[in-house]
């Protein structure tokens, strides 16, 4: 059995890495402890943050626990975020956006298949920034959510509609590559 402080640090690490609020029940399963024990630990972690005046707070939101920055630091965070590369599209985000733009409607699974890695993180960013939106459901089994680009996306790029996206063929290095790519492209666009 691990001591209380060990459990606390593992709990902190899990909450640190989580990108969504973590329900008590999930933590109970993870640490193989009853929910009331988890509640106790989480609350003691929260008190610890408060008492030691940390920049991080532990919040109970939307049915779960989540770490967040202390509101007092907001001015610094806003300046930091405004100046940092946070605003820039990463290469992964740019590629994901490009695939969504040219192959929409597209599911997470299709994106992962094309890029060879999960695109969930960048997709979430693109959705949060309003440039990618849900556009429907796959009629097939599983009913996967399908994604497409938003009106905001068109406006930012100065396009009236998707038909004004440049022809990919104009950007291909050579004709052979065009053939290879077309065979990989669906009938969509």
């Amino acid at each position: 059995m691990e001591g209380r402080s060990d459990l606390l640090r593992h709990l902190e690490a899990v909450l640190f890495i989580a990108d969504e609020p973590v329900p008590t029940a999930d933590l109970a399963v993870l640490f193989e402890l009853p929910s009331n024990r988890i509640e106790e630990l989480v609350l003691s972690l929260r008190d610890d943050y408060e008492q030691s005046r940390r920049g991080i707070v532990l919040r109970s939101v939307a049915g779960g626990w989540r770490l967040a920055t202390h509101p007092d630091s907001a001015p610094y965070l806003e300046r930091f975020v405004g100046e940092q590369r946070h605003g820039r599209l990463s290469q992964a985000a740019l590629e994901t956006l490009a695939i969504v733009a040219y192959r929409q409607p597209v599911s997470r699974g299709q994106l992962a298949e094309i890029r060879g890695v999960s695109s969930d993180g960048v997709l979430r960013t693109l959705i949060a920034r309003g440039v990618v939106i849900e556009v429907g459901r796959d009629p097939g089994p599983g009913q996967a959510i399908l994604y497409g680009t938003s009106q905001v996306f068109l406006e930012r790029l100065g396009l009236n509609d998707l038909s004004e996206l440049p022809e990919l063929a104009d950007f291909m290095p050579d004709s052979k590559a065009v053939e290879r790519m077309e065979s990989g492209l669906g009938p969509g666009l």
């Binding site: 965070l77 946070h86 740019l94 695939i99 790029l157 440049p166």
Partner: protein, 247 residues
């Protein structure tokens, strides 16, 4: 002798060559190509499907081994022979490539160790909290339709078909047919001569091999008589005109 050709440990022909040379401690000139081939076929059969890249890598390697074997078979007479020097230079080039490759192979292990040691550190794949989104610069700032199209091309183009570097294999510059024609017309003109005289100007060892094959071809069609007094001695060639009836 058997050679354990475990395909999953080989990623390229230099890898396989390196393995044969440094791990098995064999002299490639003594490697039986048939044995290696048999092992290779057995392994691919076990895999169930043939990976094009591995298959072509294997062919390249087999060709390399054959060429090195041919180097071994022909006697090296003099160190000043320019042709031999060329061959040795070629061999040095391959040796250099092997050394460079072996270095990277070794350092790759070190990189992996470092990565493993750092596996335990997880950083946040931080999504910007909603309250800070307004403070962030416009995410599409600076993005043009052209840049987007370029990114789409990058993302949607499948990787190039696997290709194999053949630069370490000597190209055949003269075909057997050409060599036979050349040799026949020269013998018609000169009547006889030594093999060395005829092919002293051959550009590379592979050309010498082709010349020898041409001589054997003419011998088979009874257009030339061959004489060699002792092993590795001069080979003298004498032209045999076609039977008078055909002339």
């Amino acid at each position: 002798m058997t050679y354990a050709v475990k395909l999953d440990v080989f990623e390229g022909p230099l890898d396989l060559l390196l393995h044969l040379i440094s791990k098995e401690r064999v002299n490639v000139a003594d490697v039986c190509i048939a044995d290696v081939t048999e092992e290779y076929l057995r392994a691919t059969a076990a895999l169930g499907e043939v990976d094009l890249e591995t298959a072509s890598s294997f062919l390249i390697l087999a060709a390399t081994l054959l060429e090195l074997k041919s180097l071994k078979l022909l006697p090296s007479r003099s160190t000043v022979d320019p042709e031999l020097r060329l061959l040795l230079e070629e061999r040095d080039r391959l040796l250099h490539k092997l050394v460079v490759y072996a270095t990277f192979k070794k350092v790759a292990v070190q990189l992996e160790n470092r990565m493993t040691a750092n596996l335990g550190y997880h950083s946040r794949a931080a999504e910007l909290p909603d309250e800070l989104v307004p403070a962030a610069p416009e995410i599409l700032r600076g993005l043009t339709a052209q840049k987007l199209a370029q990114a789409a091309v990058r993302a949607l183009t499948p990787p190039d078909k696997p290709s194999v570097d053949t630069s370490h294999i000597t190209r055949i510059t003269v075909s057997l047919e050409e060599m036979v024609t050349q040799l026949r017309s020269r013998l018609e003109r000169e009547g006889s001569g030594s093999f060395r005289q005829m092919f002293g100007s051959a550009r590379s060892r592979i050309d010498v091999v082709m010349a020898l094959l041409a001589v054997l071809e003419l011998f088979k069609s009874q257009a030339v008589d061959i004489e060699q007094e002792r092993p590795f001695g001069e080979i003298s060639l004498t032209y045999r005109p076609p039977a008078s009836g055909a002339a």
